[in-house]
């Protein structure tokens, strides 16, 4: 029986689980099937865990029980209470957990049966441990930066890259030595320590606004580390899940880099965004500014309005007010669309989640390719806390750090209203010509407050005879 369980049932259960994971991600390809995807993933996970509990090697359950209960107790609040705006931190944190698990298992494996291991296994084990522990500390720092616990500005000094790279190199060299002679066990703790340090070093030097890219990268490390664990333990399910996770992280970071027109090396070693919190010096050039009341008049008179949300909307938690505004306008017969830039905000899909949370139907959200051709026919573009993603310099100014980054061509529309608190620059730390255009007006203030104001003003206006939306 137990034999049959271990030789047949468990492998089949794992295969089933692996298939569930693939389907789970496949169904995430559309909002209407996405939740089924989650269910499927849960089922796969459940089956795999239950099957494992029948593994003959498991003889005592008390620690398992304790760990699972404790884990659930921590996981529940993390899953249910974390606000949408804190999702980036949570993601970073869970990478830390996942990577830690991989690192610890690797450690246990090394001391238990590291001596017998052949070269390839030892290499996999080494990679698992190094990736695991560096991702652990790295993700913690990233989470800290996003949460504002660790200071946001990158911590940079000359020759830093050399230092970091040599730290990493030393870790890999030691792994090499272990492959050569597994009895050099004293090296193992050092490898762990060095990896932990490197994780901190790697992330501490990166600007807060680059965290999303870093997180995705750490995501793929975590996945890779889990896959390596699979190599060490010959566990195919781990390899499958790890590879899926790894490729996901990699693809997301590539998408982000593309959308920011940056290279990995630039993100990791560029110390980019060193300026972003300092921001560009307050501009002295004149700008035309409006107040919520005027804004209400203007947009109420428009036929077509496109709203461009950015990081500022997230920072101000203004999404609900923005939704109210959109609804009010729709009711008044104005055709309202949202234009979502792939890297608007601080996380891929950031704006989509926030607006979805505020009950904006996702078919009102249009991506860059879809919306750019429409700006020329747009009467008013309302830019809410977005800056870099609407900066024409990306098209025109070859000198600009964001040159070549695909942007929303709001400057091709009839007129623009920009909501932000000051003339300060965005994450890229570059000035934005858009604000000085004749057809641009600035609506200064905290996004939530001013948009709220605009909504109130709108409600005061007399109902206009409704044009076809």
């Amino acid at each position: 029986m137990s034999d049959f369980m271990n030789d047949t049932m468990i492998p089949l259960a794992y295969l089933f689980a692996g298939s569930c994971f693939v389907l789970s991600l496949k169904w995430l390809s559309h909002p209407t099937t996405a939740r089924r995807g989650v269910r499927t993933g849960e089922i796969g996970m459940l089956v795999a865990v239950v099957a494992t509990l029948f593994d003959f090697r498991i003889i005592e359950f008390q620690w398992i029980l304790v760990a699972i209960v404790a884990g659930s107790l921590v996981g529940l609040p993390l899953g249910l209470l974390v606000p949408m705006t804190a999702v980036p931190q949570r993601t970073a944190l869970s990478h830390a957990f996942g990577a830690l698990a991989a690192g610890l298992v690797g450690t246990a494996e090394f001391y238990l049966s590291g001596q017998g291991a052949d070269a390839s296994t030892m290499i996999a084990l080494g990679l698992e441990v190094v990736l695991g522990f560096l991702t652990f500390t790295g993700s913690l720092v990233a989470a800290g930066k996003l949460q504002g616990i660790v200071r946001d500005r990158p911590w940079v000094y000359r020759g830093q890259n050399i230092v970091n790279l040599s730290i990493l190199a030393s870790a890999l060299v030691m792994v090499g030595l272990l492959v050569y002679d597994a009895s050099l066990t004293f090296l193992f703790p050092i490898i762990i320590g060095v990896s932990l340090v490197f994780g901190v070093m790697l992330v501490i030097r990166i600007g807060g606004a680059d965290m999303p890219t870093v997180i995705s990268l750490l995501n793929s490390y975590a996945g890779l580390s889990a896959a390596m664990m699979g190599f060490v333990l010959n566990n195919k399910l781990l390899i499958i899940a790890g590879a899926l996770d790894g490729s996901s992280g990699l693809i997301l970071s590539i998408i982000m880099c593309k959308a920011m027109n940056r290279s990995f090396t630039n993100v990791l070693f560029g110390g980019f965004g060193a300026e972003d919190t300092t921001g560009g010096a307050i501009e002295q050039r004149p700008v035309r500014s409006v107040d919520p009341e005027e804004t209400a008049f203007l947009i109420d008179a428009a036929r077509t309005v496109v709203i461009v949300p950015g990081y500022g909307m997230a920072a101000a938690q203004a999404q609900h007010k923005v939704r109210e505004l959109a609804d009010a306008l729709l009711k008044r017969g104005v055709d309202v669309k949202f234009a979502i830039h792939p890297v608007a905000g601080r996380m891929p899909g950031h704006m989509n989640v926030l607006l979805a949370e505020a009950n904006v139907p996702y078919d009102q959200l249009h991506d860059l390719e879809a919306i750019n051709p429409e700006f020329p026919q747009t009467d008013i573009v309302l830019v809410i806390g977005a800056n870099d993603v609407v900066n024409p310099a990306a098209r025109t100014d070859t000198a600009s750090p964001i040159y070549g980054m695909p942007i929303l061509d709001v400057d091709t529309s009839a007129s623009i209203i920009v909501v932000k608190r000051s003339m300060r620059s965005g994450f890229a730390g570059v000035d934005n010509e858009l604000f000085y255009l004749q057809k641009t007006q600035m609506l200064f203030g905290d996004a939530k407050t001013v948009i709220g104001g605009v909504v109130d003003e709108l409600s005061k206006l007399p109902a206009r005879e409704v044009a076809a939306a």
Binding site: V22, L25, L28, S29, P31, A34, R35, V38, G41, M45, T52, D55, R57, E60, F61, W63, A67, I68, G71, S72, V74, G75, L78, M84, V87, R90, F97, G98, A101, L104, V105, A108, Y111, D118, S216, A226, A227, M229, G230, L237, L238, I239, G242, A243, L244, D245, G246, S248, G249, I340, M347, P348, G349, H350, N352, V353, E357, P361, Y362, D363
Partner: protein, 110 residues
């Protein structure tokens, strides 16, 4: 090359291709849920941790395993929960969507 390694390589390569194929199909709209879902899924490493935590081979192994189980469980629970929470929020507009395809004449298809 040991059989074990060979097999692992095959599984890894195939899964990576598969990952690429399915994940490039996830729209930007769902990239945040994607992150948290893959997160939860990769916490499958719990199946390895369980063995160490329950094998009672050596105290340190048990402890390390238990911590790993703890960490993975947190990810599983929180990951699935928050993903579902996000997805619950994505909804279509009630009134007919104004997608180009829909506005275009449809022919008299029954």
């Amino acid at each position: 090359m040991s059989d074990a390694l060979e097999i692992s390589l095959y599984i890894f390569v195939l899964s990576s291709f598969l990952g690429y194929a399915v994940i490039t199909r996830v729209p930007g709209l769902l990239h945040t849920p994607l992150m948290s879902l893959t997160n939860a899924l990769s916490a499958i490493s719990i199946v390895a941790s369980l063995i160490f935590a329950g094998a009672g081979e050596a105290t340190y192994a048990t402890i390390l395993g238990a911590i790993a189980v703890f960490a993975s469980t947190t990810n599983i629970v929180s990951g699935f929960l928050i993903t579902d929470r996000m997805l619950k929020m994505f909804r279509r507009r009630e009134r007919p969507a104004d997608k180009p395809t829909d506005t275009a004449p449809k022919g008299v298809s029954a």
